[in-house]
């Protein structure tokens, strides 16, 4: 039983991380109907900023705030100057811009800070004794912290979407950009804001997850796998559903942990293949995702 609980806790912790990144993808998709391929690299860049500030003696909490601000600005600038001009052309152009950003940011991180791995400071307590004992399984404080942050982010997003004028405008733009423009919504500004918010969420998630997820260090390929996992989680929820992203992320995390724990012939090394399978199955059998709104395309 305690082993099962341990697997469950591990799964939920990594699942919460995937869910956080998936939420970042969802926020972009909800307003602009594209996937930001560079989402992970935005987060990576912000993590490097946070790491760099901590080496200058900043406390990690302050560095986190700065990283989120940098993320927000990056998101806004990328949307305004790179994505918006090509969006009307076609989907492939947007995709290529995303891949370009991906490569350029990844290279820029290496250029500025060097390709060697970085030890990242802890934001959450993770000492050997920092845990709660639940039926023999250890629930570490950093797991609790990550779950709490997921709940906070979901709560804030829900409030944003449901209770604020900006959220209302975002939903309007997502449903019909032309009509909302005619009703006086500044569509461009809403799009920029959603990209900014998404990148800020990514930065927040990144700073939290780097010390928790193996190999517990900051390196240039940290976010490749997380992006795939987050895409799988977001696709599971149909890319436009906050609920779906959370359920998808947690489910993926738990499934991964259970498979690694109990189905030993997989050898604990095929996480990405599992995510790939999930992506293909969801897309082939239920392209709108399990929680997604059915999209009707006009020919």
């Amino acid at each position: 039983m305690s082993i099962f609980l341990t697997y469950l806790i591990t799964g939920i912790t990594s699942g919460a991380i995937y869910a956080l990144m998936a939420l970042a993808l969802v926020v972009v998709f909800r307003s602009s109907s594209t996937i930001n391929f560079a989402q992970g690299e935005f987060a990576l860049f912000c993590c490097y900023i946070a790491w760099w500030l901590t080496t200058k003696g900043w406390p990690i909490a302050a560095a986190l705030v700065v990283a989120m601000a940098v993320g927000f600005i990056m998101g806004v600038l990328a949307e305004r100057f790179l994505v918006r001009p090509v969006r009307r052309r076609n989907e492939v152009a947007t995709l290529i811009v995303g891949i370009g950003l991906f490569t350029a940011l990844n290279g820029a991180d290496g250029w500025i800070w060097g390709p060697a791995d970085k030890t990242f400071p802890q934001l959450l307590p993770d000492g050997a004794r920092d845990y709660v004992n639940i039926a023999g399984a250890r629930l570490h404080y950093d797991s609790i912290g990550i779950l709490l942050s997921l709940i906070v982010v979901v709560g804030v997003l829900m409030l944003l979407f449901q209770k604020t004028p900006l959220g209302l405008q975002m939903r309007a733009v997502a449903t019909n950009p032309e009509s909302s423009a005619l009703s006086g919504v500044k569509v461009g500004r809403v799009l920029s804001a959603s990209w900014g918010i998404s990148a800020a969420i990514g930065a927040f998630a990144g700073v939290l997850l780097i010390p928790v997820l193996p190999p517990n260090q900051l390196d240039l390929s940290s976010f490749f796998n997380i992006l795939i996992m987050a895409s799988a989680a977001a696709l599971f929820g149909g890319l436009d559903s906050v609920k779906g992203a959370v359920v998808g992320g947690l489910g993926l995390g738990v499934a991964e942990s259970m498979l690694n724990g109990y189905v030993t012939f997989l050898g604990g090394s095929l996480q990405l293949t599992i995510a790939l399978m999930l992506i293909v199955i969801v897309l082939v059998f239920k392209p709108t995702g399990v929680f997604g709104a059915r999209r009707i395309e006009r020919v």
Partner: protein
């Protein structure tokens, strides 16, 4: 990007291009009219001959080059082969693949395993790599029937990222993270070439060249026949294509299969070139992005773009390796991708052809009415006769 990328295929829609000057009469007056060259005329044949002579010149220069320069050229050709493959899916059919490193790697590992574990000759493994990667391409392309654009890109991205993991999983066959080493002796040129064991570089240069030419001819014929038209129609407007009788599902899947197969042939040669395969180093996501960058730089949906792309993929990292802690190539590639989307969506080849079209324009030959010698010229042509 897709609409302009068929600039090179001037014979397909000549009416649109020739009508262009009339839309801006003032500009057309200022500029001299382009020289019109008919396809198949003497001038056209002359242009082709000059091109061929230049190509032969470059090839002989490469053959006489030093060992290092020659191996770089071999690498250029290997990447060009893979990019020709990518071009079929991404350039002509509009299926963006961010995972072609996996096909490239699959071809390389097929060759490597057959040589190391089963003692095959290197040349024999190329067709096997082709078939294996064709089947893998069909399987990966299957989701493209139902999903489009961004979604397919995610699937291919996941495939590309997952590939090293799968290779490492089957360690007994692939050597896993330790890599698979092919011995020099096993890569020796076959006896009929007259090359010794230590002249493997030269042998590989010629082999890559021959394969590149074959692959380019195949790709050329593929995109210029009705099948290629079906590819481009699917890219430009899927629904319109299917209503014209194109079986979109078959076209997309097979295009992806062919694309994967050609990339696999490139990978097969790459295994011979490299001699030791480590999936975590050689066949990562960054390779997939390099291939895609090469394609976009060279020009999507152009026939000569892949060669320029291969040059870029090899020489840009080589000449910039001293800057930015070895990471500058990624920045340059990323920046180039973004700049090209804004400035020249049709890539360098497309932009060059657009420029050349100002001065020289190749048009299809005007159809001559075929008149039998005994047919009185005043009679109207009968239905069914060629006119």
């Amino acid at each position: 990007m897709t609409a302009t990328s068929s600039l090179e295929d001037d014979s397909i829609k000549p009416s649109m291009e020739t009508s262009a000057p009339s839309r801006w009469p003032s500009r057309a007056k200022r500029r001299k009219d382009p020289i019109i060259v008919e396809r198949g005329s003497k001038a056209h044949l002359g242009m082709i001959t000059i091109g061929l002579i230049m190509a032969v010149g470059v090839i002989t220069m490469g053959a006489g080059a030093g060992q290092f320069q020659q191996s770089q050229l071999t690498q250029v050709m290997i990447f060009a082969i893979a990019i020709v493959g990518l071009n079929i899916a991404t350039g002509y059919t509009g299926l963006v693949s961010v995972g072609h490193s996996a096909f490239f790697g699959l071809g390389a590992y097929t060759t490597g395993i057959l040589i190391v574990n089963y003692g095959w000759f290197p040349l024999q493994t190329i067709p096997v790599a082709l078939v294996v990667c064709f089947i893998a391409g069909l399987i990966v392309g299957l989701p493209s029937i139902r999903i489009r654009g961004l979604y397919l890109a995610i699937v291919t991205l996941a495939f590309g990222v997952a590939f090293p993991e799968i290779i490492n999983r089957f360690q007994s066959l692939t050597g896993g993270a330790f890599g698979l080493t092919i011995r020099m002796r096993q890569l020796a040129p076959p006896g009929w070439t007259g090359y010794g064991v230590n002249e493997e570089g030269k042998w590989l240069y010629w082999l890559s060249l021959v394969v590149l030419i074959v692959v380019m001819v195949v790709a050329h014929n593929l995109v210029r026949n009705r099948w290629g038209l079906a590819l481009m129609a699917t890219r430009d407007h899927e629904i319109a294509a299917s209503s014209c009788g194109v079986n979109v599902a078959v076209v997309k899947t097979v295009a992806f299969g062919v694309s994967g197969a050609l990339a696999g042939v490139g990978g097969s040669l790459f295994a011979m070139y490299l001699g030791s395969l480590v999936a975590n180093d050689s066949f990562t996501l960054l390779l997939a992005i390099s291939l895609l960058t090469g394609l976009v730089i060279g020009g999507e949906g152009t026939r000569f773009g892949p060669i320029l792309g291969g040059l870029a993929v090899v020489y840009v990292p080589y000449y910039t390796s001293s800057w930015g802690q070895g990471e500058s190539a990624a920045v340059i590639f990323g920046a180039l991708l973004i700049i090209l989307v804004f400035v020249a969506p049709e890539g360098i080849t497309g932009a060059a052809f657009r420029l050349i079209h100002r001065w020289v324009r190749v048009v299809p030959r005007t159809p001559q009415p075929f008149v039998r010698p005994d047919q009185p010229s005043h009679l109207p042509l009968k239905k069914g006769t060629v006119a």
